[in-house]
Symmetry: C2
Subunit: 307 residues, 2 copies
DNA sequence: TCAGGTTACGCCTGGCGTAATCATG
DNA sequence: CATGATTACGCCAGGCGTAACCTGA
């Protein structure tokens, strides 16, 4: 049983059972991949893939176990390589961060700037997506670090660290009637068309739960992943926007006004997550401390079980 | 980076850094192992082993990480092989059980007999040791299943299942004064020289804690791992024996008498543990159900996280 | 007919074993 | 000197790529 064979199986699965695509991704010939997979199946004495004639059309029952184990092995091998890099070509490598728009746009820039200055030879990539996608990217190893709210901390495959707390604010056009009322309530809020994040009302998240518990039905007319998009539409007079408070800046976002909502919703916590058994390069740990200066490296290492 | 190289590193560490011994264990030549390890070190750009001239005298800091990861990979590869065996040469293989004397002698025989009848082609091995050794063997993968009391359930690397509960009894020679007293107490017990398991008083275990909490100092004159040894010495009149109640049988152990102690000590639970990320062959799961018929296979699978 | 997979075959890398050499206690 | 690691070297398995061939949609 060769390590290559496991990589091949792993990649074929990742490429939706397309051997040609896998061989391309692996920079090798297609017959080679085909052959090695056959040899592995022969050695193990079982079929990993279901075939219809010559096409792969699925993964067999035992195949699923093999695929899962192969994925683990591939990850461990990556980790070993990383340990090598860590102790030799110090301070060069890659860092992939998966996060949501709000974090990428409003919270990460300072840390990223600092990081790039300190590690000019690390190739930094930011993957943007909704919380579920962030979680998946971290769990699959596509991203080294994921930054998102709550949901990421509930995944068994991911170790998490609370990063910081935040709340929401309402952005409204100038002269909006809500600016004159003395106290903002859920009821008042529900009277106007609402524009907010598209994931705020999926999967029983916090915001939807608060409305539901209060027996108030908000009038959500439009959703986006993107606070900037939301503000744009608020500017057009299509409604009022409910966004993270860090996404509003009085000067930059004039003429919009903001109304604090922290009395309506409990604080949310943004978590940072890494895959359970990923090895973190030193610069990765340092990035985390740049993002969350309240932790030192030792604390981070401990919290993320990098023993 | 070849899989073989990781096996080599793993085995060299297991053999106390003796490359010759490792090459023997791996059925290959010593220069081969030496070479491959050098190649791996070269590829990773770091030293795994500390060398004094040509002798290996230790594992470097990064080496420790590599060794740990290599061990994981080796284990996963074993698991993959097992999946293969599971679905092809059904019902042949090996099963290694690590357990303490008491379990091996008094509790396992029935299950073992049943198992051997059903799986004549599975090579069954029982490793005997104290609870700490059992734990270590399971954690290291030397044993597939470990059966021991409490301590095994506290190891992070092991998934456990409570197997059954038991308590202790006192074995005394015939005509012993304790046979005439109406109620057995810790104080009464402490008046006589005591013979018991050697691990009963190490590491703050249950028995020692009970005595300590009651402010009673037992007079332990002799310890053994083995209830049979203990009974032998009780027979010689060297003291009274405190053993697991399942280890006493009125007929077989005559002329010794027993006194129930379940009012003095809380029940102990015997746990069955498997390594966190080990793949369990079907016959292994069946062995567990034979030992603990109160669970069905599905329950066992779930409890041990064999998803 | 074409995308996608397997078979056939020769090249050549690289792993292994043997034998010789070197270092440490 | 004996134990144990490294170096040298030739053999050959086996992985890879090219080319030819097969097969459902």
């Amino acid at each position: 049983m060769k390590f290559h064979q496991l990589r091949y199986v792993h990649e074929v699965v990742r490429q939706q059972l397309n051997i040609s695509a896998a061989s391309e991704a692996l920079h090798t010939s297609q017959p080679g991949v085909s052959k090695q997979i056959q040899l592995l199946e022969e050695e193990l004495g079982l079929q990993i893939f279901q075939r219809n004639g010559k096409r792969l059309i699925g993964v067999t029952e035992p195949g699923r176990k093999i695929v899962a184990l192969a994925a683990k092995v591939v990850l461990e091998m990556q980790n070993i390589k990383r340990v090598g890099d860590e102790y030799s070509r110090e301070d060069t490598g890659e860092l992939t961060i998966a996060t949501t728009h709000t974090q990428a746009r409003y919270r990460l820039p300072a840390a990223v700037k600092q990081f790039m200055a300190q590690y000019p030879n690390v190739k930094l990539t930011i993957h943007q997506g909704n919380p579920a996608q962030v979680t998946e990217q971290v769990a699959s190893g596509e991203a080294d670090i994921g930054i998102a709210t709550e949901s990421i901390s509930k995944d068994e495959r991911i170790n998490c660290l609370p990063c910081y707390e935040w709340n929401r604010c309402l952005v409204v056009p100038p002269e909006h009637p809500l600016l004159k009322s003395n106290e903002l309530t859920l009821q008042a809020l529900a009277r106007y068309p609402l524009i907010t994040y598209d994931f705020a009302f999926t999967g029983g998240t916090l915001v939807s739960k608060i409305f539901h518990d209060a027996g108030v039905q908000p009038n959500v007319v439009f959703t986006a992943i993107d606070a900037d998009v939301i503000k744009t539409y608020v500017n057009l007079g299509l409604g009022i926007g409910l966004i993270a408070n860090m996404a509003y800046d009085a000067v930059r976002d004039a003429p919009l006004h903001s109304l604090d909502c922290s009395h309506l919703f409990p604080n949310s916590t943004t978590y940072l997550g890494v895959r359970r058994d990923a090895f973190l390069r030193d610069y990765m740990l340092n990035f985390i401390t740049m993002l969350s200066p309240q932790y030192d490296k030792r604390t981070v290492q401990h919290a993320l079980h990098q023993v």
